[in-house]
Symmetry: D2
Subunit: 481 residues, 4 copies
């Protein structure tokens, strides 16, 4: 709808109406202009119409959509299915080039602009979430596990002889496996019990550094967001140690961007000591489908190096999803989600406390974990933890997703490394427990439904155990579950 | 529309019509049933309606879409934007689990089924394209470069001391960089000139094996599809060498699945010698957006190991795109695309031959390259190749995408390795040239438009050079290009 | 996803996950079953996924979507454009048959079910909105004007000699024109001024009945919803008159369904006297695009006759839009919209009152009009109403839509009938005024923006008039508006 | 993407790429400009991307999509459901105003432009299809039956005393009912048998004119497209009669636009005599969903009058569907559909001829009917036509839609008028028969499947009759059909 076209519209309908339509168009264009000029997440979210308008405009700039384009290369982004073309807004070239995942593609101006703008908004939202001094960051279209691999492979190029990764234990497979996949040797640092909480054993890290030699250590991989009763790692102490010993420090901030506690830890750690890169999941922090993450850091060049380590092109989908979602939410919308999440944490805490009390259990005191929380599960006559396991599956069949019931005795071997009592982040956590998280997007209704169903399950479970004690016969909780 | 519902429909409209509607539904269900039963690419493509019906049904089976689900985990696949939800058919959980990218997710039955079925159809289509004895394969949601990294990292876990990768030179950055990214040492094997063609120097490979020692060599990475005048590698000889010397063999089959010559090479190589894995691009072979590839091989267990090396979950998008595209095409549709591509290759060859002749150039005789082809470009008074470069950009501004103009003198350093005359796969290819490819999805119209524009550009270029020779003044071809 | 298919799923992924997916599917099916069984607007709105699921299921039952259907008729609902097919969910056969717009089509079981269910929900929502004793009603895919024509043509078939329609004046062209279009003779009944309000002149109606003879009068067409300062007609008195004199009574309830006052009038009128049919707009009451209306009444047979008067098939679009919208809102959602509207009426009233006061104007006291309200506009030096007109266009260019500025002196002739001071429902309303409506879907923000802009415009206008008075030179308010 | 925005893009990615993207955008804009400038159906169809781009641009110009618009009217086109908004491309205001269905709406510049352009393309396509001298026409969002009513109501306004409509019998309910609905008196003119064909009885028309008096006759309603063995009416003779006697002539050209024979008849009739308006279905001629038609004619003013008779606004959906479809097809695409249809007619004719021969039947010689054709069905021992009826339902259950089996003895009363042997256009057509049509969009595959299934049904039917003759017991063809 350029001026020529508007002029022609004047011949079809009265000019005053065309003028007003043109003004409305100019309003849409203006927000687009603001975005491209300031490259910041807009304060106010956009309506879907403006978002789609921009996506269509960008698609028009990609060569596969050029009217009269003739493609004689091996990769021309022809799309065989119109369903596929439609769901990708006809953007097919992906992002990046052989040399750099943040590079611009000559064949895909639209996709390239989208990628650039998304990365700009990413910087903005990292700051908004509390990490004010971040210097560089980009969306990488792999989930956190592979993103951590990429970071370590980049570090490896700079420090080829180092092979150890010091890793304060967190019982989540992907991050552990990422060390193995990168061809490195994990050095597990067991956590210390502090009250109900599991905290980083800084002394043990120091000892390992001295034992293995800083030169042989590729990096320390610490963790912020994690399941209770583990707390986020003591990032400040770790980063200080890393700085002193000249050891890279990689932070797995998987779903930590949504918590001001986690981002505060990162901000402080970078101020005091050394943080080379921190990685976070797109789906867990921004409510988009699984498949992307953000690699960010405080040293512009190093983050660029990671981008350059990525060989070849990559999917634009995570960037497109984030682009749409951030524009749709705006800074206000995202801030509101963060605020609501914090409220839900408190609401869940009080509900769990009450619920636990009813059944003679207690909420674990894990005050440093801002997302995940747990209640004890003491089933006296359940030595093998069978009943405990059943609680998990009873919740699952009642459409409760995301709880974890952790019972002792679950020894697991991953890539040749044995973890005693896997799941509890510790060789000997004193009790069994159940965890639940207050993650972004959770609603009061989720908590209420969860607590209601949990109470039913616990009630059933406890009375079954009592019945069993009376009859001395083992007794499966639910035949049909 | 179960039987109860159909019964209720009978009360609203005459039973005969309901019955017929139910029969129609049963037809759709029947093709779905066939798919799930035989797990093969259907012979006949499906219409979009049936595809979408199945996608909706699968989405219903994922926990984020359960009516009354309450999510209290850290990853519940809530989707903030309805635009995003819609474009993913409300599938948000991605594919895979921490342990294995081909593993089933309890929270995402629908996504898991989709992933499984897609991988089954992938096996089918690999066979259809000519690699009959393939044993295992899966979609991995990273492009070929990263997929090659993943293969090498897996090999590295099995052969941790080996660090060399023998690599018959192909001037494409991603595959070279994949070796670097994996933390390995590339050993470049220069190609031999045979007529116009560049062929694998088998003797040089053998010599390097003897020199470095088979134990120190992680693998040979060979290439099928490539830009002319390079030909696909001599896979049979390489795989025989690998077998004899017990060296893994990784094949970069980037866009080779579309060519029966490339797939025949792979099939033969596996029969005669050793091929551990071969990697191909989804976008280049199946006309979907960039972002996925297939890793496949002839040893079921080894391919499974690669799947298990992938740490954590991953994007379902490439699988969804391929799922839709393959169902939409059917075996017949894909076969037809392959046939048309072959015809286009011949059509392009004859058109290039004619065009070259008009300008005193000739089509390079690269009979072993089934996709890419080239014509010589001899511009006598253009010692620095400036005019040649300009030809490329003149074609670009005329909406011709995908040609490559290769002039001598372009020395490039990648990750510390210098490549003389980068782009030509050779330190000293005898002439400058221009390449074009007949890739899947190309239409006669593409060729005709391309040749028309090429002739205009060459004509402009040649007459400019003549004018220049006459006036002895340098002369830019196009001021405004 | 019938049982056979689920059984096959069990071979791909663990049965427990399939079972849970099947349960989720059953939940969706259950709400669909409830809908078909009770044929009532669900209390709780459905999510988009369930709505689309049902639409896809219904489309599958239409013959144009039958796999293997061969169409050899002249109307097979082939759809040339996939964009069009998609936007209609592949439903193409429309609704109705030659004999009856509410009849079932053999070729289109799905569309027919959709039409039937929509009409059932329509009955429900009419009752919910206050007209409890409604007996029959259906969606007709024409807007209110044509729907009124259809009602009158049906009456005409029963009373072929009658040609007059008594019509208490309402200055809205469509309804007046509907009488003309139907080939009938409008008899305008001027309104009476009661305070600020214009009310029905019941005595004048009675007089006309006596004058023309009841047999010659096809019907009285009364109106509920209308622009202030007119009030809804005195439906009770009119319907009583109609009953006594055996004259049909047609009520134009265009946007009255959203107001409990209007629906109460209808309910009372039907109880006391005679209402043959009442017509309401879909877009104005249900926030769907323009194009449909509901014809309803208290005599099942007569409403059926209207349906049978419609010759041939018709668009399903209004039914589909209403189907989606009602399912999406649910009874709760619609009730909430009604409640919010009522609040907005009060909010707008108080804001207008305040605003009018600031400029020496007053809010008109039109307490019987539950939707539209007005403020006086006394511009002393504006005898021709030019400034007044300009106020309207100044608001328009400031993106205020929907206000009406009514100045005396606007005599309009429609189809040969002259209306003095058209727009004011009266030959001599005492003052100029501006109206605004609190219609369904209005938000507080709309009112606030409106009042803000109105104050700016009035302020500009008043000061311009003062300046003009001082300089004695006419002065256009805005050069560029 | 105005110049300011492109300038900002230059700061994100190299200018050359932005320039090329801008050129591509300009190409899209250029086709849009051509459309608005010439207001003609483009020769070449547009791709979906350009169509959607234009639709989005138009939607932006409608007030309900203005950013910052505040709506205080009773009709602001707020859309409650995002599914509904999406399927209408956020166009909600419909088309037309109270005064005229082709009038521009101040609140809806975009919708108004769309409506105007669609009507321009309609004029173009009517000419393309053969009616070169058409002067005016527009899309009306009601199907043909109601469109005919509208035409007659408009005629009635001009000729209020006339009440008869002369109507050469065609056994299709909607058009007959349209006369009744319009409050008029149909005068049925029985057809004459000429060979196998039923033709217009011109003499009978003349006689009726003389009998009733031209002044009392509102119009003659003739028909082009119809089921065999009826032929299109003798339009030239009728129009000549109408001209001579000053009687309006309305032509029901329901699906005749797709046939050059029908359009030739119209063109000739207008040249020789009088045609006031002709009406055609959108769905039957343009492969869009049911719901719209085109009213066109040779007198600009009269067609405008019909547009002005329509009271109030109306659905934009038929216009939007036609807009998309025509742009998508282009003149070339539509012409190709017309050509294919003609081929299919011949193909169906030869297939029916062969099939009939096999069963001792014959193809009816109805050479003047260019779309529908029939074969005789002589079942000697089926006096009540029961077997014949069963043939129809057997075909229906075999997913053959659109055939008609016409047996004598089906007397039907419509609105009080009795039609002997309804369905056969005649009181005494000599034999039973089955018809099939070659309508636009039909594929060779439709014919082949139809003939295959027809042969099976006829074979089953004939052998059942033989068996019955042998056993002398009545015998239902199919128990379960």
């Amino acid at each position: 709808m350029n001026d020529d076209i508007l002029e022609l519209c004047n011949r079809l309908i009265p000019q005053a109406y065309v003028t007003q339509g043109a003004q409305a168009r100019a309003s849409h264009e203006n927000v687009i202009k603001q975005l491209l000029e300031h490259r910041k997440l807009p304060q106010q979210g956009w309506d879907d119409q403006t978002i789609e308008l921009l996506l269509h405009e960008l698609a028009v700039m990609d060569s596969n959509n050029f009217p009269g384009n003739c493609g004689v290369g091996e990769r021309e982004s022809r799309l065989a299915s119109s369903l596929v073309a439609r769901r990708h807004y006809r953007l097919g070239h992906g992002i990046g080039r052989s040399g750099d995942i943040t590079a611009v593609q000559p064949k895909a101006a639209g996709s390239s602009i989208l990628m650039k703008i998304t990365n700009c908004m990413v910087m903005d939202i990292i700051k908004l979430s509390g990490i004010k001094s971040v210097k560089n960051g980009f969306v990488v279209p792999v989930a956190t596990g592979m993103a951590l691999v990429l970071c370590m492979l980049t570090l490896k190029l700079k420090k080829p002889e180092a092979k150890y990764v010091l890793w304060p234990r967190i019982d989540q497979k992907s991050c552990f496996k990422s060390i193995i996949t990168a061809g490195l040797v994990p050095v597990v640092i067991e956590n210390l019990l502090a009250g109900d909480e599991l905290r980083t054993d800084i002394a043990a890290i120091l000892k390992k550094i001295q034992e293995l030699g800083a030169n042989n250590i590729l990096c320390v991989m610490s963790t912020t967001s994690c399941f209770a009763p583990r707390a986020p790692d003591k990032l400040e102490e770790i980063s200080a140690l890393c700085k002193e010993n000249d050891i890279p420090h990689l932070v797995n901030n998987a779903y930590g961007l949504q918590s001001s506690k986690c981002t505060h830890l990162l901000q402080q750690a970078a101020r005091i000591g050394r943080v080379d890169a921190f990685v976070q999941s797109l789906d867990k922090n921004f409510m988009v489908p699984v498949g992307g993450s953000i690699i960010a850091g405080f040293d512009k060049d190093f983050i660029n190096e990671i981008g350059k380590t990525y060989p070849g092109r990559a999917s634009a989908t995570p960037s497109v999803d984030l682009f749409i979602t951030l524009l749709s939410l705006g800074a206000n919308g995202y801030q509101q989600l963060l605020d609501e999440r914090k409220e839900m944490y408190a609401y869940l805490a009080s509900a769990l406390e009450k619920c636990a009390g009813k059944f003679g259990e207690r909420r674990l005191n894990t005050k440093n974990n801002p997302i995940s929380q747990g209640i004890s599960l003491n089933l006296p006559d359940d030595p093998k933890g069978e009943k405990l396991t059943e609680i998990g599956s009873m919740l699952f069949t009642r459409f409760v997703s995301g709880t974890r019931v952790v019972a002792p005795g679950n020894d697991v071997t991953i890539s040749g490394y044995m973890f005693k009592n896997f799941g509890s982040h510790s060789n000997n956590y004193p009790c069994a427990y159940l965890t639940a998280a207050a993650a972004i997007g959770m609603k009061k209704n989720d908590v209420d439904m969860f607590i209601g169903r949990l109470e039913k399950v616990l009630s059933k479970c406890k009375s079954s155990l009592e019945a069993q004690r009376d009859s001395s016969t083992p007794n499966k909780l639910e035949e049909d579950s």
